[in-house]
């Protein structure tokens, strides 16, 4: 049974005290209390979600609304400051790609390192590596350091690795939308086959078209709080209205 349950989840970051995070020792010695010393940023506030098998949850909201933080909490990368996260099922996450790889390693080495971190056993690795190379389709560059890759190559490799073992819960940040048409098509087929087998997908995106296409449930985030949670059919129009977006033709197959 796969599910995600979040109860009263809060995420609070301590903000840097000064641009470089220093400068407090003198203040501490002198006993000066700068009100900024204990500045906190609440990235998520009182988030409650229940997602079950076969659900595809879309997260929408402005930049900085907390979408990526919520993805990190769901995938277990960031434990919540308070509240509980209950996740049953093996999670794979594809979050911001640029920082996600060690630039010195070649694409091929990256497959082995990241693949094992995602849970691919050594004995399956060679077979999986070949599949990943084929799916990523970046040619001879697979043997070059990933620091030489274009954004599209990063994306294709990252996506191919993250989806190489079928995750029971796939967590995707909007990044995956940066690919070219051919890649989008292949990734769409892969995501749809995951969905068809009852796996959970959590997707953060600015594209209401993708939400409409993939998701049955939608959470609309605003300043770290879920302001609306419900079916895509109900929440997307409200969101568009709130943002002042006129529905695009692509959204029309919501009906």
């Amino acid at each position: 049974m796969k599910f995600i349950r979040l109860n009263n989840v809060e995420v609070e970051f301590a903000l840097e005290r000064s641009p470089t995070g220093q400068q407090t020792i003198l203040n501490r010695v002198l006993g000066i209390h700068n009100p900024r010393d204990n500045l906190k940023f609440r990235a998520l506030h009182d988030v409650n979600l229940e997602i079950s098998e076969g659900d595809r949850l879309g997260l929408i909201g402005r930049n900085g609304a907390g979408k990526t933080t919520l993805l990190k909490v769901i995938s277990g990368i960031l434990p919540p400051s308070t509240g509980t996260v209950n996740v049953s099922g093996q999670v794979n996450a594809l979050l911001n790609l640029g920082t996600g790889m060690d630039g010195d390693l070649s694409g091929y080495e990256t497959i082995y390192v990241r693949g094992s971190l995602l849970g691919i056993r050594p004995k399956e690795m060679d077979v999986k590596a070949e599949e990943i190379v084929n799916f990523a389709n970046i040619g001879e560059f697979i043997h070059q350091p990933v620091s030489t890759y274009s954004a599209g190559m990063f994306l294709r490799l990252g996506f191919a690795i993250a989806t190489a073992i079928e995750p029971e819960i796939l967590v995707l940040d909007e990044v995956y939308e940066a690919g070219d048409a051919a890649f989008k098509e292949r990734s769409r087929i892969r995501i749809e086959s995951f969905i068809a087998r009852g796996n959970i997908v959590v997707l953060a995106t600015h594209s209401t078209a993708s939400i409409v296409k993939y998701c049955n449930k939608v959470a609309w985030l605003e300043k770290g709080t879920v302001v609306k949670f419900g079916s895509a059919r109900d929440v997307v129009p409200l969101f568009q209205e709130g943002m002042g977006i006129t529905p695009s033709p692509a959204d029309s197959f919501i009906n």
Binding site: S75, I77, L78, A93, N96, L105, R114
Partner: protein, 267 residues
């Protein structure tokens, strides 16, 4: 208290069992360090030999000791010294070096402690083997059954490095000044520790007490004494290393209980 010990044990042993993740990471670390160099990992051997032979020849004339015994002494002392201080300094960057992964992939952060330790252990083994090679050329008469005492010595030093790396991984991450303070501390300690001068000099000056108040001397001696002389180190050295391990084990459980959960917020 009991809860934090069992949480600690469960966490560290599950990360240990995931050796198929951290071992390849270590191999990549080593390979990366020598990327595009012709001699690769052999540079570890060259650097150690070059310094040990050069410094050994020079210092042996200064102190009037036999170069044949002094060169392996410098080589082995240096190998263990760089290993143990390396577990402090690289320990501090255990998590920050892994943030590429920790920010992206749901994985137990403790595997990166083993990654760090394993990388350093490989370098220690190379250093010990190089020293043994020097001993076999310069002091073959000292090799005997007693030489096997190197093995428990390595075991103890590895255990000391294990608890050190864990402790510093959290402390170095929480207090970023530590990693900047450590090099100056070690620079001083390097002079205070008998690596480039024989312990006998301390004994001759009536300073033998200093031999047993610096734990780094003991950590070096439990490997160096059997390696170059084929005999056990003096017993207080073993006692000191065990005490060191116990102290740092307690510290490592404490920092784990306090900060394991919070750590992702500092990345």
């Amino acid at each position: 208290m009991i809860i934090s010990i069992s949480a600690y044990t469960a966490d560290m042993s599950s990360a240990l069992r995931q050796h198929w993740i951290w071992r390849p990471l270590s191999h990549h670390d080593l390979r990366r360090r020598f990327r595009r160099s012709v001699f690769g990992v052999l540079w570890i051997v060259f650097q150690q030999m070059f310094f040990a032979v050069g410094a050994g020849l020079l210092w042996s004339t200064l102190f009037g000791v036999d170069a044949r015994s002094f060169i392996p002494f410098v080589a082995s002392g240096l190998a263990v010294w760089s290993f143990i201080t390396g577990s402090y300094t690289s320990g501090c960057s255990t998590f920050s070096q892994a943030q590429v992964y920790l920010k992206q992939i749901p994985v137990n952060s403790s595997i990166f402690i083993y990654r760090m330790l394993y990388t350093n252990l490989v370098i220690l083994f190379i250093g010990v083997l190089t020293s043994f090679f020097l001993v076999s050329i310069l002091l073959p008469q000292n090799i005997g059954w007693g030489t096997l005492l190197v093995l428990p010595g390595i075991g103890m030093v590895a255990a000391a490095a294990f608890v050190t790396t864990q402790t510093l991984a959290y402390i170095g991450m929480r207090f970023r000044d530590v990693q900047h303070a450590l090099p100056s501390l070690f620079q001083l300690l390097f002079v205070l520790t008998p690596i480039l001068y024989p312990i006998d000099i301390l004994r001759a000056r009536g300073l033998e007490i200093t031999e047993f108040i610096n734990p780094f001397t003991s950590i070096i001696e439990v490997i160096r004494a059997p390696l170059i002389n084929g005999v056990a180190a003096q017993w207080p050295h073993y006692a000191i290393v065990i005490a060191y391990i116990v102290v740092f084990q307690v510290l490592s459980v404490a920092v784990h209980a306090r900060w394991k959960h919070e750590m992702p917020y500092w990345l």
